[in-house]
């Protein structure tokens, strides 16, 4: 297994059937992919392509890759009926998330501001011409699915079985290192030393959303990064953590946020009965709710 740091998180790559040199080359390829993606599409990198789009005052001709990202984001907006919306960049900044997160750095005494409402539909996108025009009040943040999508792209570089794990957003290809599936431990959001349940996954991805790490103080209130597009403010969900299992890490990444915003009842309903989808929902009182298509190895 090889590890590196990218997108402000720890990334681990393992391909048990490869010899060490080939596994290292795979990790180097993945490291380049993560670094390049972050360099181009992070809103925190001043000269990133996304940063330039967020500063542009007129129409912008974007790269093919950024257009693909915007189109993918648009599909997620439609599929989630607007509960996923990458135009929450202004709301994140207003809540105080204006730089790359590290504990304590975002704390401030002023109460959180309110950003003007923004919706993906306000972006003018001409896909064939790769032209994008952004209203001045709208700022794009692709953090809601960029990491999961990059995990999928990195996993596609590897022969199965293989694992790409970016801070808990993981794609697990094949039937695991010993043919019995990959084991995924779900961390207790109230105590990182504890595991709430262990899942067994085969050719599936997993992602988790919770406000327990990326949180800060805004005046006398606690703020976090899970913005509800319906209010433009950090969500007041009755959930403490959501883990979603899906076919791709991108889908799991998006759905983990959507289920968190929906809350325990509607969130569980969203995942239940969907082939290939499952979830582990932890409520604020610490209860664990397992829904959908899951194989539990230990709970």
């Amino acid at each position: 297994m090889f590890a590196f740091r990218a997108m402000n998180t720890d990334v681990a790559i393992a391909a048990p059937t490869l010899d060490p040199a080939a596994e290292q080359r795979l990790a180097q390829q993945a490291a380049r992919l993560f670094a390049d993606t972050e360099r181009r599409f992070s809103r925190f990198v001043a000269d990133s392509e996304l940063g330039r789009l967020n500063r542009a005052t007129g129409s912008v001709v974007v790269s093919r890759e950024l257009m693909e990202l915007l189109c993918a984001a648009g599909r997620h907006v439609v599929e989630t009926e607007g509960l996923f919306d990458p135009t929450i960049g202004g709301a994140l900044r207003a809540a105080g998330y204006d730089r790359s997160f590290s504990p304590g750095t975002l704390d401030h005494d002023a109460p959180p501001a309110r950003a003007p409402p923004a919706h993906f539909a306000e972006l003018a996108i001409d896909e064939p011409a790769r032209l994008v025009r952004r209203p001045p009040h709208l700022s794009i943040d692709l953090g809601g699915f960029l990491k999961g999508r990059t995990v999928d792209h990195a996993a596609a570089l590897a022969p199965a079985p293989a694992m790409v794990d970016a801070g808990g957003d993981a794609m697990l290809r094949g039937n695991g290192p010993d043919g019995t599936g990959w084991l995924v431990e779900i961390e207790d959001p109230a105590d990182a030393r504890h595991v709430l349940a262990t899942l067994r996954l085969r050719d599936r991805a997993v992602a988790t959303s919770a406000p327990n790490r990326r949180r800060w103080r805004a005046g006398d209130r606690a703020a976090h990064h899970l913005i509800d597009p319906r209010t433009g403010e950090p969500s007041r969900s009755d959930l403490a953590q959501v883990t979603v299992v899906a076919a791709t890490a991108e889908q799991a990444d998006v759905l983990a946020k959507v289920v968190f915003l929906l809350g325990a009842t509607d969130g569980a309903r969203r995942l239940d009965g969907q082939p290939g989808l499952g979830g582990a929902l932890v409520t604020r009182d610490g209860s664990l709710l397992l829904v959908g298509d899951l194989e539990v190895a230990d709970a």
Partner: protein, 112 residues
Amino acid sequence: MTDRARTPPRLPLTTLEWRLYVVVVLAGVYLIAWRAIADTTPGPPTASPARSAPSDLTTRGVWLDDLPVAQRPVLTLPPGWELAARGEAVVAVPTPRRAPASRPLRVRTRSS
């Protein structure tokens, strides 16, 4: 053989037909002139790379950032327009390090 002078043949056109003929000719001239003017009018920046590209590329079109740097034309964009670059400058690529794996290999999922 005959010494009688030959009279030139007359076109059997009525006044109305002559008018139609003139209208068609003028419309053709107008169309040709209009196309010629349109071809010299600057287009939007998205069209410029294809027009400025080498001749083998002009017919199928090419994106500016797909061209080698040396072949990219200099574009003059309208006020307020901006060309977003790919940002292909220096990318700090992290160096992967061998990490001890748990046995059996497992993932800890959490918010990050």
